[in-house]
């Protein structure tokens, strides 16, 4: 049984249908990626999973449990954590406070302090900037805060929405290395990316989304070699 199972979900924004029946599985300890053009519905899928949106039809099961009817905070408490698109850090709090917010559902202070230390090793840049107001960080640093903050929740499944957006090519590589490092620690990852080549390279499994529907799926390597994917996303 997969850690996350999505079964034919339909999601609407008022009357606009953004997802037209999507099904996908995320196996535990894997990196799964969702690629597609602008407005394909990738962010919408993640929002539906984390409970910020509710599908009008279909089911989402996490660890065998249906998520229907649960609030976003309940889902987060189950270890399913969403890093939304666009570096949405708490701009008026310090980096340190942002990290602590990530551990909001946890009460084990000692372990939280240890995890913070681990994040500092993962992102040495953040250590110097712990007391800085997060809103004044550079774009890349903000992305680090967003990722580190999500990790502070000790997630089992991490939903990452375009973690490489707007970053310098060098930094993009670091981001992907970090994702693999996080995955190596036993965290399952569902990754949404514009940078399809990089994402498919590190992914065990990939899905291609177009206008709210999944048009292709398969192991990451296979998708890179697929003619249609090459034409549409890899240029």
């Amino acid at each position: 049984m997969a850690l996350l199972e999505i079964d034919d979900i339909h999601v609407f924004y008022d009357n606009i249908q953004a997802l037209k029946g999507i099904s996908l599985d995320v196996e535990a300890n894997r990196i799964v990626t969702l690629v597609g053009g602008n407005g394909a519905g990738k962010s919408t899928t993640l929002r539906a999973i984390s409970g910020l949106l509710h599908p009008r039809q279909g089911a989402i099961r996490y660890d065998g449990r249906p998520l229907a009817g649960l609030g976003a905070h309940d889902i987060a408490a189950m270890g399913l954590v969403h890093v939304p698109e666009g570096r949405r850090i708490f701009g008026r709090l310090t980096v340190d406070e942002n990290l602590l917010m990530g551990a909001f559902t946890r009460r084990d202070r000692k372990a939280i302090a240890e995890d913070k230390e681990r994040m500092m090793t993962l992102f040495p840049r953040l250590r110097e900037r712990l007391r800085q107001v997060a809103g004044t960080l550079s774009g890349g640093e903000q992305q680090m805060v967003a990722t580190a903050r999500a990790m502070m929740a000790r997630p089992r499944l991490l939903l990452m929405d375009e973690p490489s957006m707007g970053l310098a090519p060098m930094v993009v590589e670091q981001v992907f290395e970090t994702i693999q490092a996080i995955n190596a620690q036993g965290v399952t990852i569902l990754l949404v990316e514009q940078n399809a080549l990089m994402a498919l390279t590190i992914a065990d499994q990939g899905y291609v989304l177009e206008s709210g529907e999944i048009v292709l799926s398969g192991p990451g390597r296979d998708l890179i070699d697929d003619e249609r994917v090459r034409q549409a996303y890899l240029g």
Binding site: G51, L52, A72, H73, F90, R92, F104, V133, A153
Partner: protein, 558 residues
């Protein structure tokens, strides 16, 4: 450059003209700063000229310093031109038929009783001197400048509040002699003013020198402790003041205390949780009416409980109202929330006035004869004792707010304030947190309302206007959002001062508006900002700090 000097001067002059036409100037002229020497109105004119001089002679201007002083002089003269023109016009036409404030008294004030021609010359000459003084001030070293400003401010305070200060110094002997040196029966004496100026200037000089030496060596923790000590000292001052002062000050302070309490709770909502709640007065009304219904000595009363039994019930009812009001506006954010809650606030007042509720709540006649609370055998009847009641309640509110700020709930509020979606995705329960914020805010508002009811001894629907919510909001903005001492300061500045300067009553909201605009320009973080807020607005962004004017006299770029 001369052109900018003239334009700036005329701008300041336009402000003076406006003040004259609406009648503020003459009103201010009625109050002496130094007896028979300079009035508050004249001081405003001087201040305008100085301001024009400061603005026209920036320290970074390309011209040599002597030329800059000339610009200051020109700007000062230009600042008095509009008023001089007004004088000429008043001489030629009877303007009072149009503008009631343009009376003969105003003419005499502007002309220094020197007649038409000499008067105009004196006004312009005085303006030029003021402008020159401003330019000189701009070019003196900051230390001396600060001393002069502090000294002048002290003289203004000592002069304007002479009545109150004298009241507190009603002793025979040494204190009486000192008092007689500084004050005549009617106001600050010239020699007293000179001494006040000198002492304040010297003290400020010494202090700033000492603090500059210390500041560098201080750790963050020590600095924090210093802030704590300063806040405690202010609080202690606030606590002993009414005991020294007469009952009039007690009355004013009682009102100030009440608004401090209300400011504390709105601070929770707005400062911490970012919920711009303008319906706040509704819970204030609920608390007041509940107290009235439970304790009053009139036919509408349901019970005749003691105040101490009624207050918790009133608070509980307010909490319920807060939560009930909170539910429909849960999904409403930002500006929309302000509008929605504003409507809710009005609803309560309208309900009380409605035919349906009038038989129960007394309608427009209100509920009368609410007994004063008694503590043991002692009745809290005097304004001063009620002030202490508000102080204790504010203390409780402050403690709760302070504990909350570093709690899980406080952090959840701050996170929701910055980004609701992400906060939820991190496990924060939006509904519960928001309802807690509304409930807690309402609890303290209800407490304030309950104290308000016994303060007045009666409650009327007309006491619960939207204006109360706006006043409270204004005072926490002026004081410093999210800062507890700031709330006290804001309440003293916006509620206390206008009460003390009674003649301002008519123009109260004119000054409110002006103060708010000036604050937003010069010091958007408030008079006594919280650490976090200072960080937000100034933070590491130097240019922003400059823009917001960290100095009293910002150097203007031309």
């Amino acid at each position: 450059m001369i052109r900018t000097a003239i334009v700036r001067g005329l701008l300041f002059g336009a402000v003076g003209l406006h003040l004259a036409v609406v009648g503020v100037l003459l009103m201010l002229h009625q109050r002496w700063i130094i007896i028979d020497t300079i009035s508050l109105g004249q001081a405003v004119l001087v201040l305008l000229a100085i301001g024009a001089g400061v603005m026209a002679a920036p320290t970074n201007a390309p011209e040599a310093p002597p030329a800059r002083l000339l610009f200051g002089l020109i700007a000062g003269a230009a600042a008095s031109l509009p008023l001089a023109a007004l004088m000429v016009a008043m001489d030629l036409v009877r303007l009072q038929a149009v503008f009631i404030a343009l009376s003969h008294d105003l003419f005499e004030m502007l002309s220094f009783d020197l007649g038409d021609f000499l008067g105009v010359l004196a006004l312009i000459g005085g303006g030029a001197v003021g402008g020159l003084a401003g330019a000189v001030l701009q070019h003196t070293p900051p230390g001396i400048r600060r001393a002069v400003i502090a000294g002048a401010a002290a003289v203004v305070v000592a002069g304007v509040f002479q009545e109150l200060i004298q009241l507190m110094l009603q002793f025979e002997g040494l204190i009486g002699d000192i008092r007689d040196f500084f004050y005549t029966w009617e106001g600050l004496s010239p020699q007293g003013a000179a001494v006040v100026f000198a002492i304040t200037a010297i003290v400020s000089q010494v202090r700033s020198a000492a603090s500059r030496r210390n500041q560098a060596a201080l750790t963050d923790q020590q600095r924090q402790r210093q802030r704590m000590i300063r806040a405690l000292l202010c609080l202690a001052g606030l606590a002993v003041l009414p005991a020294l002062a007469g009952s009039y000050i007690g009355q004013v302070l009682m009102l100030v205390g009440l608004f401090i309490l209300m400011g504390m709770c709105l601070n929770l909502d707005v400062g911490l949780a970012g919920l711009l709640d303008l319906g706040f007065v509704a819970f204030f009304a609920v608390g007041a009416y509940a107290t009235a219904l439970l304790t009053a000595d009139n036919p509408h009363a349901l019970l005749h409980l003691s105040y101490w039994a009624a207050m918790p019930i009133a608070v509980l009812l307010s909490i319920c109202m807060g939560v009930i009001f909170g539910i429909p506006v849960l999904g409403v954010r930002g500006d929309y929330l302000a509008v929605a809650t504003m409507g809710l606030g009005e609803i309560v007042r309208v309900i009380v006035l409605s035919d349906f509720a009038s038989p129960l709540l007394g309608g427009a006649q209100g509920l009368l004869q609410i007994p004063k609370p008694a503590l043991g055998g002692f009745t809290l009847g005097s304004p001063v004792s009620l002030f202490y009641l508000t102080l204790v309640a504010s203390g409780v509110a402050a403690f709760v707010a302070w504990r909350l700020e570093n709690s899980r709930l406080g952090r959840a509020w701050m996170a929701l304030r910055d980004d609701e979606d992400v906060a939820q995705a991190l496990g924060i329960n939006l509904i519960r947190s928001k309802l807690m914020a509304y409930g807690l805010g309402a609890a303290f508002a209800g407490l304030a309302g309950s104290i308000f009811a016994v303060m007045l001894g009666s409650v009327y629907p007309s006491s619960f206007q939207l204006l109360i919510s706006i006043n409270v909001l204004a005072l926490i903005i002026v004081g410093g959002m999210g800062s507890l001492p700031g709330v006290a300061l804001g309440s003293i500045a916006l509620i206390g001062l206008p009460e003390l300067l009674r003649e301002f009553g008519e123009y109260r909201y004119l000054f409110y508006g002006a103060v708010l605009i000036i604050m937003m320009r010069l010091r958007p973080e408030g008079l006594w900002p919280s650490e976090a807020r200072r960080r937000e607005l100034h933070g590491s962004d130097e240019s922003l700090a400059l823009d917001a004017g960290s100095d009293l006299l910002p150097a203007q770029r031309t």
